[in-house]
Symmetry: C3
Subunit: 356 residues, 3 copies
């Protein structure tokens, strides 16, 4: 990761992005610059999180890693919620989930599989991940199907959304307790070595105090560049004739997850497929079980309540992604062709979202 | 089980329930009393069935256990069919299936998992159960989807329902032959010990003649208290503003399955997870593959034909329950967090049914 | 196979079928004769393909076998496309997929399971097959759900169809490379012996030159009898009051797949369950991933563009078939009752298609 993020480059794009925003440059240029800035700053945030996690000890560190892992997406999404762009919020949640399950996982399996004939990882963890994915899709699917077949009072719709969101957050917290405390060893056998190694590679660069300072700075920077990026999207969709859905699900999601993408693919090529799968699947689970429910609560704090009802095609996209990802990961071994299958589904969804 | 059912308590609640019914007590009071009576009498019926099964020898005994296992639900449902309350029949079938797959199984895995880190059972049986669940949901889903997209003559709708019901009953009988005769040992390896032990714990209490007599008495008593319970439901739904769907799917289903609930959870805590899963999953399979189809035929005997078409949200509820239960049980090992996931889905469905 | 196809019988039915067609015999008689002719000629084609494959060497031979395996269906479907009978094309694609996954596989598991208590095959191949089936159903499901919820310009609908078709064909070619070149041994362990044996049983009958000649002759004959068969279908549906859907999905599909049916069942009874599953599952994958997409492209060549959008009930039928087949095959072992379950689903679908 180190080689990818030069501090100078980071500051230059942050500054350019700010100038573009306040000086009202052309939306396309501003979009490109702020997208690059988001990718760089998200990478910086990821590194700062890892460093703080290193000093915080294994348990709290694991928790921090898990919680800040999608901080960039969460902040972008909060900006979108504040602007009332609910459709784009949901599209970007959809895009993050399918982007991680299909594009990141697909490229990881493909690249890793070209170098290594068969790659293996903990089959019990794969099974648990699969069940969590099923719960995530159920939690999004049930409110949608009930609300499509019955007309509900607005209060009831929000009540249902809040209860479902609450259930998911509790389930996610219990999952952290389960996977990091009560059944840590149970889930770790094969990828243990990878997990141990990872923090050590990057961590020693900064002192404890510096790490915390950088984490704060990175979070603030992400908040700013995210806002600047979000502001360009309206014009962008109009200029290029793209749908909010496509921009949210593919453009925003790819930008917001770029850091995970490169990390997962590099790990897969080093035959650390367990860690790569954890990034891709873990990230999408976090978005479905933690980021999305938190956004429901945040929207109520802003006084602009958002419900948890996704559109039919968003649900279909998430559903098919979960099914193919579950089918491919559940046997605990992967190969290049399984990567091809995930990418094929991603392409089919991408073209479909582009055309509607 | 013995300690749970005192004959005196049983007779008192049976008598109170009868008085409530014929003296027209308040519907709420009558509901509470007859619900308790149903739970007690169903427990008595379960014990009598086990005792008769003990004397009948392993094969016929297994068949009796399997067939009388859901006798209480079947009798309640027949009462509802006779009254023409088809919506509530289907809601209670839905509720029995999801109650067993989510609540009973969820509490069993959670309670068992808190005491035992990982609990294991026969993975081949888990696979067969999974496939049977899939067939059950297909049998309910296919007629619904065909009838939603095509207008069928009434005769054809009933013909389709009867054929599907017939196919399911034949499949269920062949499953009994498969699991109790041709492949008995194949499915039994881990839980064998549990299965052997269970009958011996309760059986010796009654002589052969007494057991049969009690089985007859219990069946008659269930029939009466079920009818008294059913009569309270109309007023109950009106008074509390509950939907038929919610009462059928959650209230009736929980009352009708109370005996299974306690048995499964106690078995799970004793680390007999195979037997606990068998009660929960086996019970829901029996309802889908045997009770529901029998009700279709029974309704024709009453001259009030009922079709097999469930509503979209009932199908969705059964569908998601099958998917998460299959995903969780298919690896043949369970832990407390898997119980949490099942209960999370149950809560999401419960709130949804309550609000619509 | 040898004993099933007598050259004299083949020629007699081919001649009768031609006479029936040009002399305008009654549609029913002509249908019966040309159906028998199709079955015989398809068997001849299958044998010629195997023989050519034998001389072509393992890799090219495998490719030929895979590509010509469904030549009869492909040719029948091309005839239907040329006539513009798109509904019947899609119905017959649906029927081929569900016929292979439910009827052929079901009869194979049932017949094989009656003779052999448990039959085992390569579990890795089973997993890959399952994932491919999921991709196939996703590729058909996604365009349908997007087009049902959004009105698309006609050009965009065909563009979407062509892109999806292209993705599937590329995935199918990569699958051939994966399964026959890069991971051949990985997928072959258990059924290896079967695969080796099969060509040798039939191959030596003809010389290399004769084999190629017969392959050409058989292909031309299939083209003719297929066209004669297709011409009888219109009158047949009208005379017997059958829907295009039922005729396409059950009658045409059974006739077109008769050769696979008998081969798979005989292999299963000889305990070569791996080869039997390969025929059934492989055949349905080939139709979904290769035949269907090729037909989309062919329809554009004919100037009568066909889209890839299947009806709701066709998708439902394919979807449930994939789910039950995947659930049953994924553990790499089979028994007679799993055959019963597949046949039960086939019967439910058959009655449903017949009644609508």
């Amino acid at each position: 990761m180190k080689k990818f993020i030069s501090p100078a480059l980071l500051l230059i794009f942050f500054a350019l992005s700010a100038m573009g925003h306040y000086a009202h440059w052309s939306a396309t240029l501003e979009f490109v610059i702020s997208a690059i800035a988001v990718i760089l700053v998200a990478g910086f945030l990821g590194r700062a999180t890892e460093s703080v996690a290193h000093y915080a000890g294994q348990r709290l560190g694991g928790f921090l890693n898990a919680t800040f892992g999608n901080a960039a997406e969460l902040i972008i999404a909060i900006m979108l919620v504040r602007e009332g762009l609910f459709d784009m919020v949901k599209a970007s949640i959809t895009g993050s989930i399918i982007g991680n399950l299909l594009l990141v996982l697909g490229l990881s399996l493909f690249a890793g599989g070209l170098k290594h004939k068969v790659q293996k990882y903990n089959v019990t963890l794969a099974g648990m991940n699969g069940s969590l994915m099923i719960v995530a899709i159920i939690a999004l699917f049930v409110p949608a199907i009930f609300l499509q077949t019955h007309v509900l009072h607005e209060d009831d719709r929000f009540a249902l959304s809040l209860v479902v969101a609450g259930v998911l957050i509790v389930a996610y917290i219990l999952w952290l307790i389960f996977s990091m405390i009560t059944h840590k060893n149970h889930l770790a056998d094969i990828s243990e070595k990878d997990a141990e190694e990872l923090p050590h590679e990057h961590a020693p660069a900064w002192s404890k105090g510096k790490s915390i300072l950088y984490l704060v700075i990175a979070t603030v920077m992400v908040a700013f560049v995210s806002e600047w990026l979000v502001h360009t999207l309206d014009t962008l969709t109009a200029d290029f004739g793209l749908s909010e859905l496509f921009v949210g699900a593919f453009v925003v999601a790819i930008v917001g997850n770029a850091a995970e993408h490169s990390a997962a693919i590099m790990l897969a090529m080093k035959n650390k497929i367990g860690a790569a799968v954890e990034i891709a699947v873990g990230s999408s689970l976090q978005i479905a079980l933690f980021v999305a429910p938190v956004l429901i609560f945040v929207s109520h704090l802003f006084g602009k309540p958002m419900d948890i009802v996704f559109t039919v095609i968003e649900l279909a996209a998430i559903g098919v992604s979960v099914f193919i990802a579950k089918s491919i990961t559940q046997d605990g071994q992967t190969n290049w062709f399984e990567g091809v299958l995930l990418l094929a589904v991603y392409m089919i969804l991408g073209v479909s979202f582009y055309l509607v």
